[in-house]
Symmetry: C2
Subunit: 330 residues, 2 copies
């Protein structure tokens, strides 16, 4: 498997050097692997910190900036960052108003953010945590007890980020983040396996002519292997999975997310089918975001995330955001 890299060992550090070069409005500590919004801490503002294994870009580093995260900690590929990164990030963004850790539900991330929270609190930083576990595909998985955290992380980071930007206090930002988690569900599909630099090729087998329904963002197994399906059939399966679980009764934010290797042209065609499937269920769509946001390196495939929103969550979703990976209204 050919990759645009130097050697597998330096992939994350190389990317951070390039990220720093491209985004001078962010402070990138390449050695400690912490990305911080320039100017942080902002007086009186709650700090938002997330992080996780690399390989899901633009998540999380690409979501650092005005109206979203204050800091992100990238780990090695598909590997949790360590507590030291998280406590550094917390210290860098705490203005005294406290810090919210946004944690995707993978065992390593949960343990490390827990430990970091204890350490940060010993240093006098008030910490709250929110666990993102939106993936309805399976209960328990390769790296997870309970449900995996996937595409809805973007909803949580955007909406809680907007609340923090407005000056909401820590308990309120935390409550909003939890409300987004409770209101969100995701379901992913893989058409090809993911290849990691370390392995130098695919990390699992997915034969020509088959797809993986309910795949995780590290290529973890989903609900079932099926013979290849059309875009419309995949949309039906994805929408059914998230809607049956959430049973929404309010307008939806919809994220049609690419896993990395699927062309944007196909993602837009898939979006049409997702809208059709939602319309058939008489579910109104408030906003639709299409693109590669929570990826799995080069994996071909897609995920559908929905979040049902009231007026407040929709207003916070629409609020200005300015990050490398998500930007509008400012």
């Amino acid at each position: 498997m050919k990759m645009l890299i130097n050697v597998p060992e330096t992939v994350v550090a190389d990317a951070l050097r390039g990220f720093a070069a491209a985004h001078p409005d962010l402070v990138v500590d390449v050695e400690q692997q912490v990305i911080v919004r320039r100017g942080a801490p902002y007086e009186g503002k709650v700090g938002l910190v997330s992080g996780g294994g690399s390989g899901h870009e633009p998540l999380h580093g690409g979501f650092v900036g005005r109206g979203m995260l204050d800091a992100a900690c990238p780990g090695a590929i598909f590997t949790s960052p360590v507590p030291d990164q998280m406590t550094r990030a917390a210290a860098a963004v705490d203005s005294g108003a406290g810090v919210l850790f946004i944690v995707k539900n993978y065992t390593g991330d949960v343990l490390n953010f827990d430990m970091a929270a204890e350490l940060a609190e010993e240093e006098g930083v008030r910490i709250e945590k929110v666990l993102v576990n939106d993936d309805v595909a399976v209960i328990d998985s390769t790296y997870t007890a309970g449900r995996r955290g996937t595409g809805a992380t973007l909803f949580v980071e955007k909406i809680a980020g907007a609340a923090a930007e407005e000056g909401a206090p820590l308990d309120r930002v935390t409550a909003i983040a939890r409300r987004v988690v409770e209101s969100s569900r995701s379901f992913g599909v893989a058409l090809t396996a993911v290849s990691t630099p370390e392995k130098g090729g695919p990390t699992f087998d997915l034969p020509e002519g088959e797809l993986e329904l309910g795949v995780g963002i590290h290529g973890e197994p989903g609900r079932e292997r099926r013979a290849m399906m059309t875009s419309g059939e995949i949309a039906d399966a994805s929408v059914e999975a998230v809607v049956d679980d959430l049973r929404p009764d309010a307008p939806l934010l919809v994220l049609v997310n690419g896993m990395g290797g699927t062309p944007l042209l196909e993602l837009y065609g898939f979006t049409a089918e997702v809208h059709r499937a939602l319309a058939e269920r008489h579910l109104p769509v408030a906003r639709t975001l299409v693109g590669n946001y929570v990826t799995s390196l080069d994996m071909a495939g897609s995920s559908v995330s929905i979040c049902q929103v009231d007026e407040e969550l929709l207003r916070l979703w629409d609020a200005p955001v300015s990050t490398p990976g998500l930007r509008w209204g400012c």
Copy 2:
């Protein structure tokens, strides 16, 4: 080759339906295949129209909006749109101030935009054209006499779009667009072949262990096949190609562009090497944009585009832009 599609015949129409669903601020004529900025024509504003074969998304439809294009005409995959689309687009965006056609240098596109210009002028629309031919890899190619138009199209559409948004008249917008073309160069590399829905698999052979230096955005042959290179070596080859041709003596805009199938993590690592290669030549970088902007469906690989800028071009680059594919400052 598995794709997230229904049937090859409806890929572009399906994508346009999804594009319309996701972007209610644009007017999408799915049947005629024309995307127009809502509210166009804007009084006194020069209209900017581009278009080309589909498969390069977000180019061009994703660049319709405030501060960039007024309309785009997507053709079939890797196939020029027809003159009728272009004249419809011109009529839809002409406020009386005239229309600039931005044309990538491929034989079909050039012929069709020429014919459309004649037809539009017969209908009383003043038309100017600018030809983008930035790709230094080869003279003449599969679909091209002269140099191919590739990544620098983004520079032209952004900068000329900002000038038009400010109210510059047609001759001035045209002159600025031509200045951007003269100031820009690109060079692309493929690690894998591109697969089209029509073909159902790769359109050319690129063996494991080899890459194509100087590839076109339809997978056209480049300068040479080489044994696989590191990110640093590819950056050296790409930067050497564009710099030797342009011989810049002013700060650069740099676009590190993904061809579609290369993960963002790798593109950022490549960005670090591109910056290193430019720094070794003592070439200052004013701005860097990293991402999948001028793509070739699922092809893995990258291109480097540079544009040397004076104060005016840099100011226009930094001006607010709000489109599905490129957004900042507003």
